[in-house]
């Protein structure tokens, strides 16, 4: 398979680009909701539009009423989300939660997927415990209780947790904290008793929660996949989420870079366009090179994931780490090259820096993933 978009993907890219630039634009969404102190951190009307575009259920199989597309396609949508800093539950709902639900029973899929596809419902995933992404350790417990389970523990960095109709929770049903086995995934509905959210606004204006489970009673049919066999599903979710986050990061990086390169062509100092200075040209050219490489490895990882390759896990980490480096460089150079106005809230470049920071942290930062690359390579 060649490493560029085929005709259908190119068409999707054109559609997604035009749609997001218009409907998902910074002024229309991110600033709009931020300046109104929106408790969701995104607009529900846009989510409905995502559904009309076919985005919400793009990864859902055709038998379940979705489009049956792959991660390359989801990545195309995410890159445009990143480029426009469009706040939406797409990554958590349509990529992460959908990947989990694909492993669920007919009943579970029937219960949760239609609402998502319609753009009526939004979902999220609860994986992290603590301030850093450490999915190998899961302490949140689900103990047998009658025909179901009782969930106890705390999850952090749950994206728009307080606004979600359902969250996929990774909990321990047997073994000790660091065991690979003994994990079970649950679809926990919004109205579950004894669940509480401490909602916090993050640096990029998105909302997340610290979510407490204080003996949350769950039916046996809330289990996604097999009891004690959730690690495999969790890994599939993580891979999909990391590749998706990488794709969004590519969008953030190229959005910040394009804005900065444009600025170099407009701003005059010392009687010249600052883009004429070689000191800035070389940094911009280096940045271009890094962003191109980040995009290439992200598409590669998505293709491997779609092809079911055993290399997908490694390349997902490579992509997440490389994008973090490239996007981090893009936003830092962006603010610096904009000079004083780059520090102002009025100008958009700083919003890219904030979004990048949050995205870097989600599902593992570059240090976590570089370490993972080393481990998977055997050193």
């Amino acid at each position: 398979m060649p490493l560029y978009y085929d005709d259908d993907q190119t068409m999707l890219a054109e559609t997604a680009q035009a749609f997001m630039a218009e409907e998902g634009a910074i002024a229309k969404q991110l600033r709009h909701w931020r300046d109104r102190d929106c408790k969701d951190g995104f607009g529900h009307a846009l989510w409905k539009q995502f559904a009309e575009m076919g985005f919400t259920g793009m990864l859902v199989g055709e038998d379940d009423g979705g489009l049956g597309m792959g991660h390359v396609e989801a990545g195309i949508v995410l890159e445009n989300i990143g480029r426009n800093l469009t706040p939406s539950p797409f990554l958590a709902s349509s990529v992460l939660a959908v990947t989990a639900l694909k492993h669920g029973s007919d009943d579970l899929r029937g219960r949760w997927l239609p609402g998502l596809i319609e753009g009526e419902s939004i979902y999220t995933v609860a994986i992290d415990e603590g301030a850093k992404h450490r999915p190998d350790t899961i302490k949140t417990k689900a103990e047998k209780s009658g025909n179901g389970f009782k969930l106890t523990g705390q999850k952090d960095f749950v994206l728009h947790g307080a606004s979600s109709d359902m969250m996929v929770v990774a909990a321990r049903t047997s073994g000790s904290d660091d065991d690979a086995d003994g994990i079970t995934l649950f679809a926990v509905p919004k109205d579950a008793a004894n669940m509480s959210h401490d909602a916090v606004r993050l640096v990029d204006s998105s909302m997340a929660t610290h979510t407490k489970f204080d003996g949350v009673e769950l039916d046996g049919d809330a289990v996604i996949g097999e009891v004690d066999g959730g690690r495999e599903v969790l890994n599939a979710m993580l891979m999909a989420g990391r590749v998706g986050a990488a794709a969004e990061g590519v969008g953030v990086a190229s959005g910040a870079m394009d804005m900065t390169v444009e600025y170099l062509k407009q701003r005059k100092q010392f009687g010249k366009l600052i883009g004429e200075f070689q000191a800035l040209q070389h940094r911009a050219a280096h940045l271009y090179s890094e962003v191109e490489i980040a995009r290439a490895v992200t598409i590669k990882a998505a293709q491997l994931l779609d092809g079911g390759s055993e290399k997908a896990d490694l390349m997902a980490s490579v992509a997440k780490a490389k994008v973090a480096k490239a996007a981090g460089l893009a936003v830092k150079e962006g603010v610096q090259m904009h000079g004083g106005i780059g520090m102002t809230d009025e100008y958009d470049i700083g919003l890219y820096m904030k979004r990048d920071r949050a995205l870097q942290e989600f599902l593992g930062d570059q240090y976590y993933h570089a370490g993972r690359v080393a481990e998977m390579s055997g050193y």
Partner: protein, 393 residues
């Protein structure tokens, strides 16, 4: 099974049957590379067998048309062959500037007669070419070159000097930029082809900091270059005085070649091998290796994407400059880390255990990567101007 899947199966089978086990080991250095040419010698029987088998099947240049010595593979088939060769670690059967540089220039600009003669010679490994570009006073500013060909009707008389001519002392022919109009800077250069065995050509190897001499100074003292080698076979490529167009086109291929975009050792991850050699890695070195491996594996994907896009005309025409910049900077970093992981053993300059100082000599050699074929700084200038469209660049 689709045609491509069938081709992959056939290719896998063919490689299994024909690629000798010795040719599936990583290329360690120059001795493992077969360059062809009039005076070529094989290092061992396996090298000879592998070359001859590939030559007879057109696999020294798989994607060139059959009438020019290739196998006429489509881009998709060519990619499959590369993937399958890389899967078993098969070495290239033949390496040459004829394949990487002159070939693409002739396929694009050459006459039918030139293609039939020169491309077949290259594909069959009969003639080894070198490239005459840089001059002592014209490095990054290549177009200021002075080597001059005086028009004598049916031939030129060439005088001047080239420098950094890779393997000029072992090459049979040279493709060479020669000024044919002193009044016209860009449209006064002709891209000439001539025999290095001719009267008036001499070479002198340049000893580098690595102790090796892959480059030469090349001197032309009243060298007679015919304007024609027979029917439809001019002694120059493209038009007279329009050699700069050919040179620029070819620089793209040179940069692509130096970039290591095709994958292989130049872009592979190294952390695991470093640990095997060094035992325990210092934690900070391990972290640096992990960061390097992220960049190297990501660059490998970039190389694949670049080559795929190149084949179908989707790549930005200036993209080889980006590839060359990123690839050579990566390769330098790679050898810095290999030296660090290798410790004092890697410092040995002549010992048998290090194959005559390979770690340190290879490390030093890589420092030329970001100079030869256009410096990293020139690459960044070109990206600024042609891709980012920055002002005054």
């Amino acid at each position: 099974m689709s045609d491509l899947e069938a081709f992959r199966a056939q290719t896998r089978e063919w490689l299994e049957a024909n690629c000798p086990p010795e040719m599936r080991k990583p290329v360690r250095d120059e001795d493992d590379v077969y360059w062809g040419g009039r005076n070529a010698t094989f290092k061992n029987d396996a090298q000879k067998a592998w070359f001859e088998t590939c030559r007879d099947k057109g696999y020294t240049v798989p994607e060139w048309p059959k009438e020019y010595g290739g196998a006429g593979l489509s881009p998709a088939e060519g990619k499959i062959l590369r993937q399958e060769m890389s899967r078993i670690g098969a070495r290239p059967p033949l390496s040459s500037f004829g394949i990487w540089m002159l070939g693409p220039a002739l396929l694009h600009f050459g006459t039918e007669g030139q293609k039939k003669r020169f491309l077949n010679e290259v594909a069959r490994g009969e003639i080894r070419w070198c490239q005459g570009y840089s001059e002592p006073g014209s490095g990054s500013d290549l177009v200021s070159m002075q080597t001059f060909g005086e028009d004598k009707g049916d031939h030129w008389v060439v005088n001047g000097q080239k420098i950094w001519t890779s393997y000029a002392d072992e090459a049979d022919w040279i493709f060479c930029l020669v000024r044919t109009d002193k009044q016209n800077k860009y449209q006064g250069i002709t891209f000439m082809l001539f025999d290095m065995a001719g009267e008036g050509v001499s070479t002198k190897p340049i000893k580098l900091i690595s102790g090796n001499s892959p480059f030469c100074e090349t001197f032309f003292d009243d060298v007679r270059v015919p304007k024609s080698y027979g029917e439809d076979c001019p002694g120059y490529v493209g038009e007279i005085n329009r050699g700069w167009d050919v040179a620029k086109y070819l620089l793209g291929h040179e940069r692509e070649m130096i970039s290591g975009a095709g994958g292989g050792d130049r872009t592979a991850a190294i952390g695991a091998a470093m640990k095997r050699n060094a035992g325990e890695l210092d934690p900070v070195l391990r972290a640096e290796l992990a960061q390097f491996d992220v960049d190297a594996l990501a660059y490998t994907a970039m190389g694949e994407k670049f080559l795929d896009e190149l084949k179908v005309g989707k790549a930005h025409p200036a993209q080889p400059n980006m590839m060359k910049y990123a690839g050579t900077e990566l390769n330098k970093r790679r050898h810095e880390l290999m030296m660090a992981a290798g410790g004092s053993r890697a410092l040995e300059w002549e010992s048998e255990d290090t194959g005559g100082g390979k770690p340190s000599r290879n490390w030093l050699r890589t420092k030329a990567n970001s100079i030869e074929g256009g410096t990293s700084e020139v690459m960044l200038n070109v990206i600024s101007k042609r891709i980012l469209d920055l002002p005054g660049a």
